[in-house]
């Protein structure tokens, strides 16, 4: 069981899955024990029920879902944030990983 679990969410899980591999590489380089995975919008609820997730990061193109997620997850203390646009576009695994870890606190 990884120490921290981060869930990325976008439309179909395609573009975020690219980011996942970059984030995992950055995590390994820093010797961190994190589990990172990507999911599509429709499957997000299932994943939240199935796993203990520490924070959720949304692709900027689905930021209109931020409200819905925050409503569901704030009472559980799970942070939700939209990934920084530039970092997302450049698939900057390190920056997004830092964003996730700061969010978990």
């Amino acid at each position: 069981m990884a120490e921290k679990t981060i869930m990325l969410c976008c439309a179909a899980g395609m573009s975020t899955s690219l980011l996942v591999s970059k984030m995992q590489k950055a995590a390994e380089a820093q010797n961190l024990d994190v589990e990172i995975f990507a999911t599509g919008a429709s499957d997000a609820d299932n994943q939240l029920e199935a796993k203990k997730i520490d924070c959720v990061l949304l692709g900027p193109q689905v930021r209109f879902m931020e409200g819905q997620f925050k409503e569901k997850l704030a009472p559980k203390g799970i942070g939700v944030e939209v990934i920084d646009m530039k970092a997302y576009g450049m698939m900057d695994g390190e920056t997004v990983l830092k964003q996730a870890l700061t969010l978990i606190g």
């Binding site: 395609m14 193109q61 209109f64 530039k86 997302y88 576009g89």
Partner: protein, 423 residues
């Protein structure tokens, strides 16, 4: 220019947010997602039974053997959509989804004629005409499912349920709890059906089809409507919002119905009634490198542009672009909020789509048959699969060149800007 952008985004963002979070549109999207693996399978079967290098005799034999692959999936898509609407809408109200799904489907069937008239005018009872479970029944199915589930959920939430004592197994208790809401919902629908058929001698399937489905679908399949939808997709992406998800939630029922009608005609060997269908929208817009037909843009960035920053992003975006994933270029170029390329971003897909439509209308290239092709299938292959002809693939390549030509002057402009990062 910037204040114009600001006012535009202030007006569009809240609207797009509302659309993206709307309960009914989300449920509709999920319900279509339910049928997706099934329609994928059906499409593969249709492609296999119609491969161009088979002769007609082989195709007929294959269709006889493998035909149920399509009959059981795409031809009855309304079944899955109605069930899906019942399931997901109930879940959204925290009511047990599976009972909601069953009630929604049954309500739809209550409004469906269980008899048909053959070509010779003979009335046969005890049969369901297949087309009522497919394209023809799509709109009545969606309407019935939404209304039935709403009624079902409201009654359930009011607490009008039979509550079983604690010792009873959960599945049995749930079934009894669902009894009263189900009976009430189904009774309402039965009363409507009896009234409509008894008093007015029509059935709701045909009424909805003529009054709502045909006009809406006809309108939605027209070139102007398609260009308007595309315009909004591009505009939303420009503000960094997923244009497809938002526009699809509104247009998918229409595009999917168009797709089913084409597919049924294709299966029967008739001429294809529509050019614009869901596969047309996917293969000939998203299928060209991603929304906005960005393969051309990525190629220009990676190989033609001079500034290192653009070349780097272009190379990074190349592999995903082959599979039509273009977020790297949308956020990395960036296309989002980039005033210089607002014009080609907006108009290139509109021009290319108008050209594609015309080329298919005059018969130079066959229109997509209605077979579902995943949007991640690389360019050229997707065009071939969708139209069952190599011309479909070639048209896609021509489109890429066209997009490249439209973007070229703006690309050159960006290359010459002193400090691109200052944007």
């Amino acid at each position: 220019m910037n204040t114009f952008m600001d006012t535009l985004s202030k007006k569009i963002m809240p609207f797009a947010n509302k659309l993206g979070q709307n309960r009914y549109l989300t449920v509709l999207r999920d319900a279509f997602m339910l049928s997706f693996p099934l329609t994928m399978f059906g499409s593969i079967i249709v492609v296999i039974t119609n491969l161009p290098f088979f002769n007609d005799a082989t195709k007929t034999t294959l269709t006889q053997l493998l035909g149920n692959g399509q009959n059981a999936t795409m031809s009855i898509m309304t079944v899955f959509v109605t069930f899906g609407i019942g399931y997901y809408l109930s879940n959204s109200y925290d009511v047990d989804g599976i009972f909601g799904g069953a009630v929604a489907f049954a309500s739809f069937l209550i409004l469906t004629p269980f008899m048909m008239t053959t070509d010779k005018g003979v009335a046969v009872s005890g049969v369901l005409s297949l087309d009522r479970l497919g394209a023809k029944g799509m709109f009545i199915g969606m309407i019935a499912a939404f209304i039935a589930t709403e009624i079902y959920c409201r009654i359930t939430k009011k607490g009008w349920q039979i509550k079983m004592p604690d010792g009873v197994p959960p599945a049995v208790a749930k079934s009894f709890a669902a009894l009263i809401p189900s009976i009430l919902t189904l009774t309402i629908f039965l009363a409507v059906q009896a009234a409509v058929t008894g008093l007015f001698h029509v059935n709701l399937h045909d009424v909805i089809y003529e009054i709502i489905q045909k006009p809406l679908v006809g309108l939605g399949g027209s070139l102007p409507a398609t260009l308007i939808a595309l315009f909004f997709v591009q505009l939303l992406w420009f503000f960094g919002l997923h244009g497809q998800i938002i526009v699809n939630s509104v247009m998918d029922p229409i595009w999917n119905t168009l797709m089913l009608e084409n597919l049924e005609a294709y299966k029967a060997g008739h001429a294809l009634p529509h050019i614009v269908t869901k596969p047309f929208m996917e293969t000939f817009t998203v299928g060209l490198g991603g929304s906005g037909m960005t393969l051309a843009v990525v190629l220009l960035m990676a190989f033609v542009m001079k500034k290192k920053q653009y070349r780097d992003v272009g190379r990074l975006a190349l592999a995903p672009a082959v599979f039509n994933v273009n977020e790297p270029v949308i956020f990395g170029f960036p296309i989002v909020l980039n005033a210089t390329i607002f014009i080609p971003w907006l108009i290139a897909p509109l021009i290319v789509t108008a050209i594609n439509y015309t080329v298919m209308a005059i018969g130079l290239v066959p229109a997509p048959t209605g077979v579902s092709v995943p949007w991640t299938v690389p360019i050229f292959f997707s065009g071939m699969l969708a139209t069952n002809s190599v011309l479909g693939g070639i048209l896609q390549l021509v489109d890429v060149v066209l997009v490249g030509l439209i973007w070229f002057p703006f690309i050159k402009l960006l290359d010459r800007q002193k400090d691109p990062l200052a944007n």
